[in-house]
């Protein structure tokens, strides 16, 4: 069983989504994703103000063995990229659901409802299906 906080939503492409009190959402990659990538050496996050579509690549996480895109789970406008990750990409490995958040986004009207987000149990099924 992976580390999957119950208060978060997930995507098939291994992002997590946390709804914040002000109606914006915080986005990161799951514990499973950071584990698969290995030690991160570089993280590129989007600038505030960028408008993204759902499933648009908007961040890059790079480990010693791979570089992967992170997709916007929800359409909207970026309100912040995590500034800490430029100097400390390893925060994503150490604390993927906390200090290692990648970006915050204000969902476009209706986008949150339209997004195909998964519950922890549904995401666990995705992970189970990946194990061969």
């Amino acid at each position: 069983m992976s580390n999957l906080p119950a208060d978060l939503k997930y995507t098939k492409s291994h992002e997590w989504v946390r709804t914040l009190p002000d109606g914006t959402v915080e986005i990161g990659i799951t514990d499973h994703a950071q584990h698969e990538l290995g030690d991160l050496v570089f993280v590129e996050v989007p600038d505030a103000g960028r408008v993204v579509k759902a499933d648009e690549p908007c961040a890059v996480v790079e480990s010693v063995k791979a570089a992967s895109d992170v997709y916007a789970p929800i359409a909207g406008e970026i309100t912040a990229g995590n500034p800490k990750l430029a100097a400390e990409p390893e925060a994503v490995n150490a604390d993927p659901y906390g200090e290692g958040w990648l970006m915050r986004l204000r969902p476009a009207p209706g986008a949150l409802d339209a997004a195909a987000l998964l519950s922890p149990a549904q995401y666990q099924q995705v992970l189970d299906a990946e194990v061969h």
Binding site: E44, E62, V64
Partner: protein, 457 residues
Amino acid sequence: MAFIPHTEADVAAMLAAIGVARIEDLFDEIPPELRVGLLAGVPEALNEMEIGRLMSERARADGIALSFLGAGAYEHHIPAAVWAITTRGEFYSAYTPYQAEASQGTLQLTYEYQTMIARLTGMEVANASLYDGASATAEAALMAVRANRKSKSARILVPTTLHPHYRRVAVATASNQGLRFEELPYGPQEGVITTAALVPYDAEDITALVIQQPNFFGRLEEVDALTDWAHARGILVIAVVNPTALALLKPPGEWGTRGADIAVGEGQPLGVPLSSGGPYFGFMTTRMEHVRQMPGRIVGRTLDAAGKEGFTLTLQAREQHIRRAKATSNICTNQGLLMTAATVYLSLMGPQGLTRTAAAAHARTRELIAALTRVPGVRLAFPGPYFHEAVLQLDRAVAPVLKALAARGILGGLDLSAYYPELGNALLVCATETKTSADIDRYRGALSETLQGVRAA
């Protein structure tokens, strides 16, 4: 390494293993209309003896001309040791090896190359080389679009003082990826970019400005002012530089207040013979803050598990074998053998040797220009500082003059009329350290006699 071709039995066994009858069937997914088939116009193959004879005849027909051609490729003296060392079996490869870390000597040499190029350009990091100067310039434009995250326009300002072929290669390589190349005119009196040309772009969203130094006319651009103008507007600066000239000129890393962001160029002057236009190699450097946007291979120095120094490919996650379609480039082949020659050349020359070469080339060009502009009907097109090339203006069409000179064994320079029709009868000439005073006198005499013989316009 042994060269062992597959036998017919090997091929049959491999085809049987994958259930394919003929090698041809491996390509059956390519639609017939896309296949070239026979190459019309390509003659039957020649055997080794026949091709040797053909090439000797062609070489005899060309003769050994006295060349004053530059325009992007430069004749320099290459010490014999350069290619004696470069063609040793240990170095004789066009690529970084596929099992790279097993070839520590090759990686160390590449690392030394990167260090030399970074120091020559005054930049922080160099890659292991690119295809040539033109494609390095195109790659620099693509890189600038990735690196300049404040600019959304993907507009690249390209002065017409940049080599015309480089401009065409940049457009061919990058325009389908959404880049827009906008041409900046040069000052017709000066032959350099003037501040007046920049005024229309003062408040525009521009991603990068390309500056060639020395420019295509051989003239020196006001690199400090141009760089500062660009940086004040959030525009990245791509320097396109001649590596020999860097021994005398301010390196791009020191242009203006902050230095250029990316510096590229043609590496051919560093120990690579002219040989009909190639193979040459391109070099590329940048600042550390942009290193993840730089295409190509990069060798790093590290320590192994036992604490011993070693060399390894680094930052590979940007590259096509890992990032696939999203790699920083998919045409960033490096020119390992030419890069090896450049490393040996720079090692032999040292900073002093390169400075003396550059100073000699400059002095010879001054001597050439002084001699040729004494010929009636010849004048210097653009007064002002130049390095080892300059544009001459003739009082009649250039092509027949060059033809008459060629008949006397002299390549008199490049006719600019096709590239810069507005310049009229313009001729780009070059002299390097390979030319003697006697050579220059021979050219002057031949030009003088030719102009008396060729009818004035």
